[in-house]
Amino acid sequence: MTVKPMTVKEVTKKVISKDQLFILDVRNHDAFGDWKIEGENFEYLNIPYFDLLDGVEDIVDKLPLNKQVLVVCAKEGSSVMVAEMLSETGLSVHYLKGGMKAWSEYLEPVKIGDLKGGGSLYQFVRIGKGCLSYMIESQGEAIIVDAARMTEHYETFANENNILIKHVADTHLHADHISGGRKLAEKVGGTYYIPPKDAEEVVFDFAELQEGKEILVGGTKVIVQPLYTPGHTIGSTSLLIDDKYLLTGDILFVESIGRPDLAGKAEDWVADLRESLYDRYKKLDGGLMVLPAHFSKVSELGENGKVTASLKELYERNEGLNLESDKFRTLVTDNLPPQPNSYQEIRQTNMGKLKPDEEEQREMEIGPNRCAVHN
């Protein structure tokens, strides 16, 4: 029977449309336990490829005949080997093209809506890692917010739609993924913005992303308004766009809130986080669409894969916005999930102090994002 590749884009479509898929993950148990392809209707079997070198006869019975089977490994090689062995027994299976490496690096662009001043807002869903970045476009110009390391995704999208990237901003100094912000700004000749309080150790030039300093996109039509909301980091800054959208960075998520400990200062920043969530956001219009920099679970993916909810809705149902002061402190300082892989090295890289090559950057980013207080 045949062995066919399945692309990360095809798997993404299955996640979004909640299709069924049987995943035979042949990475070692630790890697699988730490991070896998999540889908609401996906089933899993994890058997390391090195336990199948003598043959796959023992696992054939465990694979369904009525579902698509996708063999997954870290970089593709082992999944092809196992898929071929399965095919020799008469099964028809797919392997994941590019493996988990490709899964981690894929971004799906999803249109969120139009802007009153003309233009559109797009969410780029990094489905494998739960990172969300944004393009706000007006009159052929754009700002990219919280860019991933794989900047070619934004450049290709901009070229295809005749858009010029003029500004690139990070809402905070990221600890879970390597920012593509500075690289992208350099490539397109744009300005790179980062909150000054997060940039005290940054070793390159930047523009300040600061409350009161508005960014105009496409002439005077769309205003990006920074709002200082510390707590995940001391500089964390939200962006208010077109009086309709609120980019919350890693402060507020749809089903959770940001953790204050990734820069080693959980106790110091609890009060800041509380004030941002319970005071600063509360004064804003409840009709604003919250657009966070992460999601944790695929259940947060809505229509076409978009991750969003109104601020009012989050005040009603997000646990992190509905706690007494002492319970809030416990939630954000005790029993936090493990920290993201290599988070200290990632912070140093985003400051420009470490300069890992592409392969090292990839290794540093392996695994889920874990920027929320809930897993």
Binding site: N28, H29, D30, P48, F50, L53, C73, G77, E359, E363
Partner: protein, 75 residues
């Protein structure tokens, strides 16, 4: 450490380092030692997991200039 057999798996991508390691181990006697050099970063975790499931002992592993060196004792 003195090895009874040496396997150069440098430049090989997963799954080849383990496929070759398994073949080399099959030719060794109980208690003999195989030295493996590899450059695929994934080999580190996979080799120790494979050794454990196969009853072999990973006696030593080091990393020098991007080359991973393993000493496996056949069990």
């Amino acid at each position: 450490m003195n090895a009874d057999k040496f396997l150069d798996a440098k430049g090989l991508a997963c799954p080849m380092p383990i496929v070759k390691t398994k073949k080399a181990m099959d030719q060794l006697e109980y208690g003999q030692i195989l030295e493996i050099h590899a450059t695929d970063k994934g080999a580190k975790n996979d080799l120790s997991a494979w050794a454990k499931s196969g009853g072999h002992e990973l006696m030593e592993h080091t990393e020098e200039n991007g080359v991973l060196k393993f000493f496996l004792k056949k069990g």
